[in-house]
């Protein structure tokens, strides 16, 4: 076990998986010579050569479309999108091809590609470096989506994504890239997609989150005089419905937290799941604490946008008050 940051854990996963499987390759803007703008891919070019860690032209649709072709040639491409908001040009390829090609071949050809990208706000960056685009991805059929919040999960989920036969998108919470530190198993390590993690057990209220918001929920739990169960859902698709429903059955109260804008965000899906499957367990409304339905703001006021311990606490109190 090594004590790593989330970013180092990503880098570890990439090294491990490229070592393990000669068909895995990494491609993206600045992933090679520079080792990535966050240095998530540092060392890969030197270790695996220019054929397996490739700096591509600045063209996200071409990058993802190219990866579709690489799959057909037998590769397992791991595509880096440099930032959340710079992934948007790839949505066309994602929706029209990445999510459909397997099905279009009658299930006969596999597209085991992985897209990974830093996402989320709070890092005092210029415009369009703070988006949380997971809803666009998770609404797209044929795609799986996972979001780690700890270094160990960052490694294990990325490894699972790379080994998965379906296209998987991994969003890495850039706010905790260098602040989240934790024990990460060395070598082969996989965290299966589709299993939530109970980050903290509790009995009064269930806080459901992913990415950097898990920590906000944990801090809220610590700050409040209420027994909060914190669920880190980790995998948005496949979704671990049982863990969520079991917790709601126990607590009867739910607060869902994410950074993305509220309307039709993934929190709505979680609320809808609960409204369908756990309605008689509920002792109060299903609350969401989310980003607002406004453009992600300039950074001097981003703290007012981001779900905070205060906002989550207020929601918890309103349920128990």
């Amino acid at each position: 076990m090594a004590e790593l940051t989330l970013l180092e854990a990503v880098n570890d996963a990439l090294h491990t998986e490229l070592e393990r499987d000669a068909d895995v390759m990494v491609l993206g803007e600045d992933v090679g010579r520079a080792g990535g703008v966050f240095r998530a891919t540092a060392g890969l070019l030197e270790r695996f050569g220019a054929g397996r860690c490739v700096d591509t032209p600045l063209a996200e649709a071409g990058l993802l479309g190219g990866a579709v072709g690489l799959c057909m040639a037998g590769w397992r491409p791991v595509v880096e999108m440099q930032y959340d908001a710079f992934s948007y040009p790839c949505l066309d390829q994602l929706i029209t091809h990445v999510g459909r090609y397997h099905w279009r071949t009658g299930g006969r050809m596999e597209f085991p590609l992985t897209i990974r990208m830093p996402y989320g706000g709070g890092v005092r960056a210029p415009e369009l470096h703070g988006d949380s685009p997971e809803a666009y991805y998770v609404h797209t059929p044929g795609i799986k989506v996972a979001i780690p919040s700890t270094p160990a999960d960052a490694k294990g989920l990325l490894a699972a994504a790379i080994r998965d036969p379906d296209p998987v998108v991994i969003f890495e919470p850039k706010l905790v890239y260098r602040t989240a530190r934790g024990e990460v198993p060395e070598g082969d390590y996989v965290v299966p997609l589709g299993k939530a993690r109970i980050a903290r057990e509790g009995t009064d209220v269930t806080l459901i989150a992913y990415g950097a918001m898990v920590n906000v929920c944990e801090l809220t739990a610590e700050a409040l005089d209420v027994s909060c169960e914190v669920i880190d859902i980790r995998s948005l698709r496949p979704l671990d419905e049982e863990t969520i429903l079991d917790s709601v059955a126990k607590t009867g109260r739910v607060v869902i937290v994410h950074e993305a804008p509220r309307t039709a965000g993934f929190g709505a899906e979680l609320a809808a799941l609960i409204a369908e499957r756990a309605i008689f367990d509920l002792q109060g409304p299903v609350l969401r604490v989310t980003g607002y339905d406004v453009p992600y703001p300039y950074w001097t006021i981003e703290d007012a946008y981001m779900p905070s311990v205060e906002r989550v606490s207020a929601a918890v109190r309103s349920l128990l008050g």
Binding site: G66, G69, D166
Partner: protein, 344 residues
């Protein structure tokens, strides 16, 4: 290095109907010349029968490729079987040239799941419906094969309209930068549905776009199957020798509706269409072969009959197939489906 084309740069092999200008393509023997003819007739027959089938309600909306056969056959005949083809909807029946049964393609147009195939079985990508999105796939495949040390290459078909899309640009650039063994075949039929080429680009020749990617661009007569063949073969040779991609513009003029749902009378010049129909590519090649003494009435009839027979069997087989199982909604969406996939 590469300059824009002059107006006169338009590759041709087949001469006028009196034989003036007829050439032979080096290395293409008589058998291959006849094989090309069979392919042309097969495609033509597929297309004409499909329009009939559509009018009879036996297939759905269909994208007509009448008079595009020379581009399709000319290009594909320059490939090895291990080379990959990436078609748009306009080349829906290109699999015929690899031996795919007509039924498969008819089923695609009938909206039946048995119309979809495993690209690896035929080295043939799926029919791309969103314009130009297949160009990056082809670039990635060609590059990926090269990275694996294989010497196969890829051919991607797209239209004149497709050259306006970002996906075309990003795909061709990726191929150029990666020195991928790719042939980019632009079917310039001068229309994107109702939009004429002049409203699509200000470039004089689409082949000129190659200059901006630092690769060779050539323009050929799209109704001259041998000219297309020769240009493709040269491009394939270059690609296989490590020379990277080539952009080929096959110039002609769409002489049929965009598809069965389209009524071009609102926007085309009917006189020009009539003129173009008179210069159609199958007859033109047939006359060339007759001049070369390779074809006579009997052989023409035999080849046509064989094609018609294949189509008859194809549609019969398609219609005999059981209706699709709705379970197929789910069966192939994921290799490892999420537990809630069937919720609705």
């Amino acid at each position: 290095m590469y300059a824009a084309l002059a107006d006169t740069d338009l590759g041709r092999v087949i001469g006028d109907d009196d034989g003036t200008g007829d050439r032979r393509v080096d290395g293409v023997d008589d058998a291959e010349l006849l094989a090309l003819y069979r392919s042309l007739v097969l495609l033509r027959t597929y297309d004409e029968r499909s329009v009939v089938y559509h009018s009879q309600g036996r297939i759905g909306t269909y994208a007509i490729f009448w008079n595009h056969e020379a581009i399709q056959a000319g290009a594909v005949h320059a490939l090895r079987d291990d080379d990959w083809i990436f078609p748009s909807y306009r080349e829906s029946a290109i699999g015929l040239l690899r031996g795919m049964p007509p039924t498969t393609i008819l089923q695609w147009w009938r909206g039946h799941p048995s119309g979809w195939w495993n690209p690896a079985d035929w080295n043939l990508g799926s029919i791309a419906v969103p314009i130009a999105t297949q160009v990056p796939h082809a670039a990635g495949l060609a590059w990926g094969k090269k990275l694996r040390g294989e010497d196969s290459c890829a051919l991607v078909f797209f239209g004149d309209g497709a050259t306006s899309e970002g996906a075309f640009h990003e795909g061709i650039n990726l191929a150029a930068v990666m020195n991928a063994p790719l042939v980019l075949m632009c079917n310039n039929n001068q229309w994107a549905i109702s939009t004429p080429i002049a409203a699509q680009t200000r470039a004089r020749a689409l082949a000129d776009k190659a200059v901006g990617y630092g690769i060779p661009g050539v323009r050929v007569d799209g109704l001259d199957v041998l000219a297309v063949h020769e240009a493709t073969r040269d491009a394939v040779d270059r690609a296989r020798a490590g020379g990277g991609p080539t952009l080929i513009e096959a110039l002609h003029y769409r002489a049929a509706p965009h598809g069965t749902a389209d009524d071009p009378r609102a926007y085309v010049d009917s006189a020009r269409v009539a003129e173009e129909r008179g210069r159609e590519c199958v007859g033109r090649y047939e006359r060339y072969l007759r001049r070369a003494g390779l074809l006579d009435d009997a052989l023409v009839a035999e080849i046509k009959d064989a094609a018609l027979q294949a189509m008859r069997e194809g549609i019969t087989a398609a219609e005999a197939e059981a209706p699709a199982d709705p379970e197929l909604l789910f069966a192939n969406a994921y290799v490892g489906p999420p537990g809630n996939m069937r919720n609705g």
